[in-house]
Amino acid sequence: MVSLINTIDTGHEDIIHGAELDYYGLKLATCSTDGIIKIFDVKNGNQSLIRELKGHQGPVWQISWAHPKYGNLLASCSYDRKVIIWKEAGSDWIKIYEYNNHDSSVNSIAWAPYQYGLILACGSSDGSISILTCNTEFNTWECKKISNAHTIGCNAVSWCPSNVPDNMFESKTSSTRPPIMKRLTSGGCDNCIKIWKEENDRWIEENRLEGHSDWVRDVSWSSSIVIPKMQIASASQDRRVIIWSSDDFINWTSTILNTFDDVVWGVSWSLTSNILAVTGGDNKVSLWKTNVENQWICINEDASCASILT
């Protein structure tokens, strides 16, 4: 039923923390404890190493590809407190920006929806979140910082998709669209999930979602741009995955997707956000989907779950 279409031997000396395909799925970037980032061409089941990017002095936790309208751009964050933006220039990769303004390991990075511009959010163990905005005309970077976003540390950041607010706040009578409201969610060691929004050029805390009893390890805003309900999935060391949903950004309701046998480390939405993949410490990756009664069911564990009508 399922087959392995690619096996990439990364050649990293140590464990990898991220393996991201670019927008079209043609290039793979990996990052590892060995401090190196590698870029591979993956076409038709073959892979070839294009480049090794060396610039971090510690484990690289995450990498992220920017939207291709900005060219081939890769961001990386590391234990060495740095965030680096790399750019493909001809056959080479160059470092175009290095951000050094965190006091501790930078754990998570995420590019904003491309419609907002070239913007990167970074969450760090120093508890703060940085928002780096590039002026693409002059190639300069501007930084805004949310200090003390999560006490003890921020583990994950994820952006709200851009199309959501547009339709929802558009009143039928007025022809002018309200300004796009940028939103971001983050999860941290204070067991909280927070939602931030940009207002008058400042990032403010719009909401705080409390429901986990241990560190939140991952948050992911569903990429769906149409379902009138927004959803955020969060994974925590309390062994639970919670789905937070709202249709007005004010009231958020939580549904416990499941309590797992072990700590859950990661949540990942499919492209159209109809399936959620959950990675747990029990060495299992489970896939979840809502049935017609809006209940979450695991679709890869039990064949009988495939029943949707009954």
Binding site: T7, I8, D9, K69, D302, S307
Partner: protein, 671 residues
């Protein structure tokens, strides 16, 4: 196919089996997943190489569900089915029963055609046998669904249709019968004679069987004559025959008693095969048991048995009757455990039980990427049967259909060559589907401009402007990276993104002022009204016009345009030196080209635009003495100070010349 077992795939990764390491999975797209070993890092984790460093290979795995429609033969199936699907949607749930029956038959006919193609090619690929099994199941289930749900007989008497169904799916007897009929007299010489006749009888094909019996060399014997008489007089239940069920049953009972009496006379003692046939038609338990033992599938003989024992049974009784028959069948076949039912066996039972939930549930597990369940559900929904058999839970049925269409459409859209078909399914799914189309359209891995244009055409046709713009931006960026600025400019203009167009236009202007070479003249001369997307582009196009006039030595037009450009307020700062240098030859030309007022304008721009720019550059050089910055140095500008002098001088000379001419002309007019 063991469907109750969850398919498992072992990912060959040693690293993830080590202590403290697990396997992490992330979505890449809708159907692809990426897996790699994951180690949790906590505050306590020391910043040293992990215990596994340099011990195991570090791998990344990409997984994807198998997709059977990449095969060229099956590709035609998916393409044709898509066409039927679209026709069906056009009926908008408002067709009559005949429309839906026709659509159902068209679906079945493309399955049949595909099966035949596969059978011809079965030797060329190992997979084909598997595809044949899958499609055969689909055909069989679809046919029965059509009989029971899409084209139900008003009176609910289904035996004749069921018999037709078995004949279609167990065609051996019919095929042999044709051979025998062609053989003519003494057909009984063939080894296949008796098995064929019995096969026909078991499928209720009495008339054909009688014709073949006539071909037997002994057909004139008493036994054969008697058999013929019995078969001929057998009452048949026909809803259009006007007989009530009671009346038919009493007729049947009379005929049965008569036949049993004839049997007991021993007339068939010399013809045991003939005798067996008579035993079949009177439903003799032992005889039927013997044939059950020889049969392969439980449903093979079931319709025939109904025909001889309960021909007037109604479709809602089928479930109970089938259950009894299965018990008997399993008993005789010695299937002690209940697992003897294979997937197709079960689905057929669920169909006869009218348990549509179970049917739709089970057919999701056929390895066809949900092609069958999606199309059948959609058809049942459209002809209004899904809600009837779904116990009238309309919204549930609708949601179920939509979720199938959504998943199937998304699956197709993620495939390279058939993404276009996927849109038709997603478009049935309201806003959610539209959103998915937009998301997936912009993710189609376009390899070249031709493909990009195709995607854009589709996006345009559906009014997905943002998708079109996004792709254009990507291609503009890509063309720039490949050193094709003309192309990039074209794409950027299509994307209607002003910033983008401006930045590429700047590239053109900078290139020109540095090298004197005008890039991609063919592109520039074809921009036309599209230039208004960015003021900078307007400037470029107008400047290009000037450049053309100048080259054609049309100096008056060139001069006029140049003055307009100088005064247009859209000149980019960096282009002032270049633009002003262009005035020198016109100011210095033998025949005066620029009047006094315009010359003053040039001078004004030299002083208010060029000079500040030079000052700015100079101060930059002063502030950063370590960086070697040239003040302004282009191909035409060796020394900017010299140029400024030259400009001022040229202006002065021209203005004096112009004054003389203008005043003389005025005097002439005055005279």
């Amino acid at each position: 196919m063991d469907v109750d077992k969850v398919p498992e795939l072992e990912i060959p990764d040693k690293l993830s089996t080590r202590d403290g390491i697990c396997l992490a999975g992330n979505f890449i797209t809708n159907s692809k997943l990426s897996f790699s070993a994951f180690r949790n890092i906590t505050r306590q984790t020391k910043d040293v190489p992990s215990p596994y460093a340099n011990k195991e290979d570090v791998k990344v795995f990409h997984l994807q569900p198998n997709f059977i429609f990449d095969d060229p033969i099956l590709r035609t199936l998916i393409g044709e089915a898509n066409g039927i699907f679209v026709t069906l949607q056009e009926l908008q749930k408002d067709g009559n029963k005949q429309d839906y029956v026709k659509i159902s038959r068209t679906y079945r006919s493309i399955i049949r055609a595909c099966l035949e193609k596969l059978q011809e090619a079965v030797d060329t690929s190992e997979e084909y046998q598997n595809f044949i099994t899958i499609l055969y199941s689909i055909e069989c289930i679809w046919h029965l669904s059509e009989i029971l749900f899409i084209d139900p007989i008003p009176s609910n008497v289904v035996t004749p249709q069921l018999l037709e169904w078995t004949r279609f799916h167990f065609p051996a007897a019919e095929r042999n019968a044709t051979d025998l009929l062609l053989h003519g007299r003494d057909a009984d010489e063939s080894e296949e004679y008796w098995p064929s006749v019995k096969g026909l009888i078991l499928q209720g094909q009495i008339d054909v069987a009688r014709a073949i019996l006539q071909l037997h060399s002994m057909s004139e014997s008493n036994a054969f004559k008697m058999a013929e008489q019995i078969l001929k007089s057998m009452p048949s239940y026909n809803i259009y025959g006007g007989l009530s069920v009671q009346k038919f049953r009493s007729q049947w009972q009379y005929w049965l008693t008569d036949t049993e009496r004839k049997l007991s006379t021993g007339i068939f003692a010399t013809e045991p095969d003939l005798e067996e046939i008579i035993y079949i038609i009177i439903g003799n338990t032992q005889t039927w048991n013997k044939f059950i033992k020889q049969s392969q599938n439980w449903y093979e003989l079931f319709p025939g048995f109904l025909f001889f024992t309960d021909p007037a049974c109604k479709s809602f009784e089928l479930g109970t009757l089938a259950q009894c028959w299965i018990n008997r069948w399993a008993n005789i076949k010695d299937f002690a455990h209940s697992n003897f039912m294979k997937h197709l066996d079960k689905v057929i039972l669920y169909l006869l039980e009218s348990d549509i939930h179970k049917v739709l549930h089970s057919i999701q597990q056929i390895g066809d990427n949900q092609w069958f369940v999606t199309h059948l559900t959609d058809l049942l929904y459209n002809c209004g049967q899904l809600e009837l058999i779904g116990e009238n839970k309309l919204t549930d049925c609708e949601d179920f259909r939509l979720s199938l269409l959504f998943d199937f459409g998304s699956t197709l859209m993620a495939r390279d060559s058939i993404w276009l078909l996927g849109i038709n399914y997603l478009e049935q799914c309201g806003l959610e589907g539209e959103g998915a189309v937009k998301t997936l359209l912009s993710r189609i891995p376009v390899k070249n401009e031709k493909q990009a244009l195709k995607v854009i055409e589709i996006a345009q046709g559906r009014g997905y402007i943002e998708v079109e713009h996004e792709i254009c931006k990507i291609f503009a960026k890509r063309s720039m990276a490949l050193g094709r600025p003309g192309n990039a400019l074209d794409w950027a203009i299509r994307s209607k993104d002003t910033t983008y167009v401006t930045s590429i236009t700047d590239f053109f202007l900078e290139h020109y002022s540095k090298t004197g070479e005008m890039l991609c003249e063919d592109v520039l001369s074809n921009i036309g009204a599209k230039m208004f997307v960015s003021p900078r582009l307007v400037f470029l196009v107008k400047y290009f016009d000037f450049y053309q006039f100048y080259r054609k030595k049309d100096f008056p037009a060139a001069a006029e345009l140049l003055i307009n450009l100088l005064d247009s307020k859209i000149t980019p700062e960096f282009f002032w030196p270049s633009l002003l240098v262009d005035t020198i030859p016109l100011l210095e030309s033998n025949i005066p080209q620029i009047p006094s007022k315009e010359t003053a304008i040039i001078l004004h721009h030299v002083e208010s635009d060029l000079m500040p720019l030079i000052e700015k550059k100079k101060s930059k050089v002063r502030d950063n003495p370590e960086i070697p910055v040239e003040v302004i140095k282009h191909y035409r500008i060796e020394n900017i100070e010299e140029i400024v002098k030259l400009l001022r001088l040229a202006c002065a000379r021209n203005i004096s010349r112009a004054f003389i001419i203008e005043n003389t002309q005025k005097n002439l007019v005055a005279c």
